[in-house]
């Protein structure tokens, strides 16, 4: 297996773990963490597309710049989501969204 293959499988596993967590977990913070892990998997695959196993050309800077943008956007969105979750918790004591007919 090549380096590309190893990290590609890793990216697929991160996406899968994140999607499962975001759908199965109820605690809002766990869901926000899961979204960040989905992001990590997507970023890993994107950077991997610009990775060069050999050859004189260095790694492709374009996906790297896009992922740098992604990391900053991810922290903005997560912390905005956390502010909303903490306000919900401070007002109602809830740590999860109400879901009728489930539990």
């Amino acid at each position: 297996m090549t380096t590309f293959g190893i990290y590609a499988v890793g990216a697929a596993l991160l996406l899968t773990i994140g999607i499962r967590g975001a759908l199965r977990r109820k605690h809002l913070l766990r869901r926000i963490l899961a979204l960040n892990i989905i992001g990590g998997g997507a970023f890993l695959f994107l950077v991997l597309l610009g990775y060069r196993e050999s050859g004189e050309a260095g790694p492709d800077p374009v996906p790297q710049a896009l992922v740098l943008t992604g990391i900053v956007v991810a922290v903005s969105i997560s912390s905005f989501a956390i502010v909303i979750a903490r306000r919900l918790n401070a007002r109602t004591g809830r740590t999860e969204l109400p879901e009728e007919g489930l539990d």
Partner: protein, 315 residues
């Protein structure tokens, strides 16, 4: 199997295990700690894949700032009525089958893609002398894809406006921890703060030729602000609301302004004339670093204000 592949497998294995534990840990706060470890491991992955700019950003923003914000939230929301409750819409075997299918599809698709296609690196290289910076990632961010980065700074601004809009009337987003920090913590901060500011300045200056840049520098400054906030002296409380708002906006506004100057000099938006490109990019990056720092520290402080405005908040 070579030693390198062994390292790759161990690193990927650790990242995946950390991710799974972060979401599924029986105790929430343990999961949050492991999430911070996940961020640090991911920054090792970026180093391995030849992306040092990302490694710095991931360590400072992904692990550092996000870690601090989530940890602070877990302090408030760490209690679960039942341990780690989960949705049970589907029977266990069916959800596992669906998970496996999703994983196989992702892995299958990813493995059919071959690395290193396209000629983007060559095109980036060819234009580099006209851009005025040597770091290719900085060139892509500030010049080739200036629009993306400008809007990225806009996203930060929108997040800041969002948390300011959500606060209760009269509530200050500048939270103060009311406690007496031990003298050793205060003393350590007095030594760390100047060092951190120096580090941020270095990253900003260095960003034009090596790993670093506005976002990394801003994140290091924000980390200092978080440290001081935890010690009960939040820097954001030292400036008036008007000055704070100006600092939040300056990166977005300055970026656009320099882009428009490029238009008046005969280029397109963000197409800086080669002779002036280096200083223009530095002017943008300095303003963006300030806005990034103020925004990230506001996002940290706002989380606390939203959660425990009434309870006093001992860390």
């Amino acid at each position: 199997m070579t030693l390198e592949m062994l390292f790759d497998m161990a690193l990927v294995g650790a990242v995946v295990v950390a991710a799974a534990y972060a979401i599924n840990a029986p105790v929430l706060i343990a999961g949050v700690f492991v999430y911070i470890v996940f961020g640090v491991l991911l920054s090792l992955v970026w180093v391995r894949l030849g992306a040092p700019d990302l490694a710095i950003a991931e360590a400072a923003i992904g692990a550092g700032i996000t870690g601090a914000i989530v940890l602070d939230a877990a302090r408030q929301m760490g209690m679960e009525r039942r341990r780690n409750p989960r949705l049970r819409r589907w029977p266990g075997w069916l959800s596992w089958a669906a998970t496996a299918a999703v994983g196989v599809i992702f892995a299958g698709v990813f493995l059919t893609v071959s690395e290193g296609r396209g000629d983007l690196p060559q095109r980036v290289q060819a234009e580099l002398p006209r851009v005025g910076v040597e770091n290719e990632v900085t060139a892509v961010l500030l010049s080739y894809r200036g629009y993306d980065t400008w809007f990225e700074v806009g996203v930060l601004l929108v997040a800041a406006l969002g948390v300011l809009a959500l606060r209760a009337p009269g509530e200050s987003p500048a939270r103060r921890f009311r406690w007496d920090p031990p003298a050793v913590a205060d003393g350590a901060a007095d030594m760390l703060v100047p060092g951190g500011i120096l580090m941020a300045g270095y990253l900003l200056w260095q960003g034009s030729r090596g790993p670093g840049g506005a976002f990394q520098a801003g994140a290091v400054l924000a980390a200092i602000a978080v440290l001081l906030t935890l010690l009960g002296r939040p820097p954001i409380a030292r400036v008036s609301d008007r000055a704070r708002d100006a600092l939040l906006v300056v990166g977005f506004a300055d970026f656009l302004l320099v882009g428009l100057v490029a238009v008046t000099l005969g280029g397109a938006l963000f197409e800086y004339p080669p002779a002036w490109a280096a200083p223009m990019i530095l002017v943008i990056e300095s303003a963006v670093a300030v806005s990034v720092a103020v925004t990230l520290s506001l996002l940290f402080a706002a989380g606390g204000a939203a959660g425990d405005a009434s309870e006093g908040g001992v860390p």
